[in-house]
């Protein structure tokens, strides 16, 4: 198995509908005992066996890192996605046994910071549930700013408000409340670190505004919620394994390689960690790059692809795998 992806056998102990779009899942170790410790911002990869299809999706752990009895994740239903979230919503029930990976943290707090400024959009709130629990337990200095569509869809807004009071600020789109980003960025004490998780457009906006306000890159942390996107099916030749594989509409290239019995490295399955980087031997067509790992120049070079999230359209693609 890939580095950092040791498996855990777990049982679903509870499924809770949080609102119209979001369900929360609780997992405990099937053999009893404690789960591995993790830090706020960590995710696990959940394996979904759906008939002959198998999907592996990353989800942020949202329970308190001080509690390793169970892990909880929240899944937002995405009706136009590849079906991972629909599988979780429609098929995962209490008592079911599942396989998840050990936690991996690609969005950790920098504990040298004097203050943590957390900015969440929509379901991007989940890693902050764990991070705020961790910070509050350690007496850390934080402030959370959370934008959501409506009060009814403000996942955990009430919980957070009850737990942390004035340290939590919520902005509702439907009443035109706006996150006062510029003012926030201009008024933070030296030594503050900024964390953002939410839709791609929001992350871009926050990062660009922070850079323009003179926040050094080292102080700005972000997590893209990049679930692999569906797309047109395509064929790939794997040069090292001498295999010809087809990637289905709702499958990622990484999943297709795994289905063919190959075990490529991965960690995040969301285009951010760099583990799955694969060299392109030759191609005739266009890449659909969806990762946040490769540089712009690498995307244009036609020499590399991140199979966990990126796709291809065209006549032929040969990979060094």
């Amino acid at each position: 198995m890939s580095a950092g992806t040791t498996k855990l056998n777990v049982t679903v102990t509870d499924v809770v509908a949080v609102n119209e779009l979001v369900k929360r899942f609780h997992f405990e170790r099937t053999d009893g005992g404690d789960l591995p410790t993790f830090s706020g911002g960590a995710h696990v990869v959940v394996e979904m066996r759906d008939g002959d299809k198998s999907r592996l999706n990353p989800y942020s752990l949202m329970s308190s890192p001080h509690n390793t009895r169970d892990y909880t994740i929240s899944v937002r239903r995405d009706d136009s996605g590849r079906g991972g979230s629909l599988f979780m919503h429609n098929h995962v029930k209490r008592g079911m046994e599942m396989v998840i990976s050990y936690p991996v943290n690609l969005f950790s707090l920098d504990l040298r910071a004097r203050k943590h400024l957390l900015v969440a959009g929509g379901i991007g709130i989940t890693p902050f549930m764990a991070q705020t629990a961790q910070l509050a337990g350690e007496g850390g200095n934080f402030e959370l700013h959370y934008t959501c569509r409506t009060p009814a869809l403000g996942t955990y807004a009430d919980v957070l408000h009850d737990r942390y009071g004035k340290r939590v600020n919520i902005y509702y789109d439907d009443t035109n409340e706006r996150l006062p980003l510029e003012r926030l960025l201009a008024s933070q004490p030296l030594g503050t670190h900024l964390y953002v998780c939410g839709p791609a457009g929001m992350i871009r906006w926050v990062r660009e505004t922070a850079a323009a306000h003179g926040w050094p890159d080292e102080t700005v942390h972000y997590e893209h919620f990049a679930a692999p996107q569906p797309g047109l099916p395509f064929d790939v030749t794997l040069a090292l394994s001498k295999l010809q594989i087809s990637v289905g509409e709702e499958q990622s290239l990484l999943e297709a390689m795994e289905a063919a019995g190959i075990d490529p490295p991965y960690l995040c399955r969301g285009g951010v960690c760099g583990q799955c980087e694969t060299n392109v031997v030759s191609y005739d067509g266009t890449f659909k790059h969806n990762d946040h790992w490769l540089t712009e120049a690498e995307h244009c070079s036609g020499k590399k692809i991140m199979p966990c999230v990126s796709r291809f359209e065209g006549k032929s693609l040969v990979l060094e795998r």
């Binding site: 201009a186 933070q188 030296l190 030594g191 306000h213 003179g214 050094p216």
Partner: protein
């Protein structure tokens, strides 16, 4: 620039204007020339949000006029690095994100100002540094823990306990000092020749 010997040996760059709301420059002696060089690359109005803290040391009066011509929002001239540090600490305590820090001049100045900046929560990798002038080192004796300023020789005598120290490239950001280890612990009668190498 000396060759990078071990990982902790600081490496210095060349100052360049950063995007920021405020700019704080700390310089001693020839460090002033690095600020003047940066000014040639800086956008118009850059110094209107800048604060320069300058410690002339051996440079006397040669740079002050030129630095003032940049029209920084604030200009401070201090008698010594030691006198300037509390002022720096105070400035940083009241500062906000968006302040960019530039340190230039001797290794001792860069190291000590960096130490204050780290305590204020600034990440070392976001601080611009440029070495100018003397390579004299601040050395901490690992035996008595005393710090000797302006060390130019190898070996050097600890100003506190008198041991003869081999000045290593091993550097502590927390102490802003290089490590000095007794060079003749086995046989104190053996006295290696001192050479002036950190100039």
């Amino acid at each position: 620039m000396p060759a990078k010997t071990i990982l902790s040996r600081p490496v210095y760059g060349t100052l360049s204007p950063q995007t920021g709301k405020n700019h704080l420059f700390i310089a001693d002696a020839e460090g002033a020339a690095a600020i003047l060089d940066l000014a040639k690359k800086a956008p118009d109005g850059f110094f209107a949000s800048a604060h320069i803290m300058f410690i002339p040391e051996m440079a006397g009066n040669q740079f002050q006029t030129a630095l003032r011509t940049l029209k920084p929002a604030q200009f401070y001239e201090g008698p010594s690095v030691a006198a300037a540090l509390p002022r720096l600490r105070q400035t940083l305590a009241n500062a906000h994100m968006g302040l960019r820090l530039y340190l230039t001049g001797s290794e001792g100045l860069i190291g000590q100002a960096m130490q204050v900046a780290l305590e204020a929560g600034i990440d070392h990798s976001s601080i611009q540094t440029e070495h100018r002038g003397s390579w004299a080192r601040r050395v901490q004796c690992v035996h008595c823990k005393g710090i000797t300023e302006n060390v130019t020789t190898q070996p050097a005598t600890c100003a506190h306990c008198g041991l003869l120290l081999l000045v290593r490239d091993h550097y502590s950001r927390r102490l802003a000092a290089f490590q000095g280890v007794c060079i003749n612990a086995e046989d104190p009668s053996e006295i290696p020749q001192k050479e002036e190498i950190f100039r």
